[in-house]
């Protein structure tokens, strides 16, 4: 893989500053989700899609809204439910009563940053309509093809505990998500900080009445950079150097998932591609113009875990995917 050109080097510092500003601005609104913010940035910089898995109330929606406002991206949110139709997402042709002609009504998917809330609550045909658009970055309404705006990123969420009435995403569709990040509860100090900030929000006057202010009211409209700046950062990611030794590490880990006796399904080649892409973005976020094994180890869970499936025997013996992956990573280090 070629080394970055010397002319791009000064821009690396600017890009890092831009990314730091995003993290700082989002951190003012969302407490203690630095890793999640980093994953959202990785997804943004690589045009990969992100699936956030966590219980309700971990500020997933607030986080995505904060990122979109910070980078000045168009943002849309769809709450997935059982009765949602593909046309509710993609759009449809509507008969105009005045002109007696069909008019195209574009759905909420025509945005830069789409939050698909609780994606596993929608029927499989709706899920596949969204996932098809994620893959091809274009949709068909009537007989007409429409390209989705660039950048286009889907951040989907799913709740791991309430499984009744949900449709689990199949492996082939999970593979479309570059990263699946599992959100965890905040530490005690972070949670106290959340409560402290929430207590200081106060009320907002609305006409003659008033409503309690939420964290969404705190989001400033001043973006730290335009989408052009983001596109430059995306170009910089492509300049991050990937050594031959790093590629050997990636292929070794991916191959180990395919050979491991406790895994019924190992990683696809797309997992290896995602590992390299995400590692490049992480290296840039951490101010490097080259990737290191620590990027690989930091991202392995988010890139690999949703792409592997435990065997029945391993499940019966009480093993988890996390344990198996750590074993693979340890073995990779042996």
């Amino acid at each position: 893989m070629t080394a970055p050109e010397a002319t791009t080097k000064p821009r690396f510092a600017e890009t890092r500053e831009f990314l730091d500003q995003i993290r700082t601005r989002v951190g003012k609104v969302v407490v203690g989700q630095d890793v999640v913010v980093e994953r959202v940035l990785i997804a943004l910089l690589t045009s990969g899609h992100l699936l956030l898995q966590g219980v309700p109330g971990l500020a997933k929606t607030l986080l995505v809204a904060a990122v979109s406002k910070t980078v000045d991206l168009a943002f849309a949110r769809i709450q997935f439910t059982i009765d949602l139709l593909p046309s509710d997402i993609v759009g449809s042709e509507i008969l105009d009563q005045k002109t007696h002609e069909f008019r195209t009504h574009k759905g909420p998917i025509f945005t830069n940053l789409l939050l698909a809330d609780e994606i596993n609550r929608a029927a499989p045909k709706v899920q596949s309509a969204l996932l098809e658009a994620m893959q091809e970055r274009r949709v068909t309404i009537g007989n007409q093809n429409y390209a989705l705006p660039a950048p286009f990123l889907v951040i989907a969420t799913q709740n791991p505990v309430e499984q009744a009435g949900t449709f689990e995403l199949p492996e082939a569709q999970l593979d479309r998500f570059m990263l699946l990040h599992r959100l965890e509860y905040l530490t005690t100090e972070q949670e106290i900080e959340v409560l402290r900030r929430n207590a200081a929000l106060g009320v907002r006057r609305d006409g003659k009445g008033a409503v309690a202010r939420t964290e969404f009211d705190v989001l400033g409209d001043q973006a730290v950079g335009s989408s052009d700046r983001l596109v430059q950062a995306m170009e910089d990611v492509q300049q991050v150097y990937v050594s031959e030794a790093f590629l050997q590490h990636v292929v070794e880990i991916v191959n180990r998932t395919r050979r491991h006796p406790q895994l019924e399904l190992g990683c696809s080649p797309r997992a290896g591609i995602s590992l390299v892409k995400a590692s490049r973005a992480r290296a840039l976020i951490h101010g490097r113009d080259y990737v290191l094994p620590e990027d690989l180890f930091a991202l392995a869970e988010d890139v690999i875990l949703h792409r592997v499936r435990l065997s029945y025997e391993a499940v019966a013996e009480g093993h988890t995917s996390q344990q198996v992956l750590q074993e693979i990573l340890s073995e990779a280090a042996r």
Partner: protein
Amino acid sequence: MSNVRRFGMLLALLVTTALPAQSRDQRSAAVGMRAYVEQLVLPGSELEPAPGDMKSPVVVRVLKVWPHGNQLRYDLEWTGLEAGEYDLAKFLRRKDGAASDDLPKVAVVVTRTLPKQQMEPSEPAPSPAPRLDGYSRLQGIAGIAWAVGLLLILFVGRRRRRAAVAPPPPKPTLADRLRPLVEAVAGDRANSAAKAELERLLLAFWRARLDLQQQKAADAILTIKRHPEAGALLRQIEAWLHMPAPPARVDLSGLLAPYRTVTADDFAPLPAPGQTTAGKA
């Protein structure tokens, strides 16, 4: 209907009526077996079976009766109940009550299949009564047999299998894998796969030395980097392997010199601070 079809039907009718029916004339039968005497022409008025009793040696039934000139033709079914020679005419009588002495003799023979003296079915052969005791003894014998079988499977079967399967060659230790890689890198003979494996083995070496096996790989690598000796080594290896243009030339021979003679014991965790250091590296 066409003439051809009509002619065909007529021909079939003629053939079926012209051909005489195959009549049975069974004059001999074993005891209890039914037999038939058909198309038998007997003179006089119509006949019927004479009423018999339980001891009657022959039972006769009149199946069909047809006129035959001024006589009658009969189909008879008869069953002999006792062996001997009999005249079926003796077992018939006239329906109108007239005398039937003028009937010709219809001789039949009832044969026996059992020996002459045997009047009833054979007595069943006496058999010994099933054994009602000894269950506990049987249970004990079965238990001993089961235990002997288990011991044979456990010891004899295993010994044979152990003798048949050769022991696998010992797995090379991490030290065995690390030394040739260090030599190859020092001699500038290592390809990218070997260099990558060397990096992984050095990580494994320090993960074991610093006792970080229980930590996640992502956390362990950060801990290793914070260690003065391991961190310095790892940063130089990373610069050599992963940086597009390393800031200074890396002295690989000097850097990897302590690992040329590394042994499996060197992968043991370092003693806690304050204790004596036993490792070489």
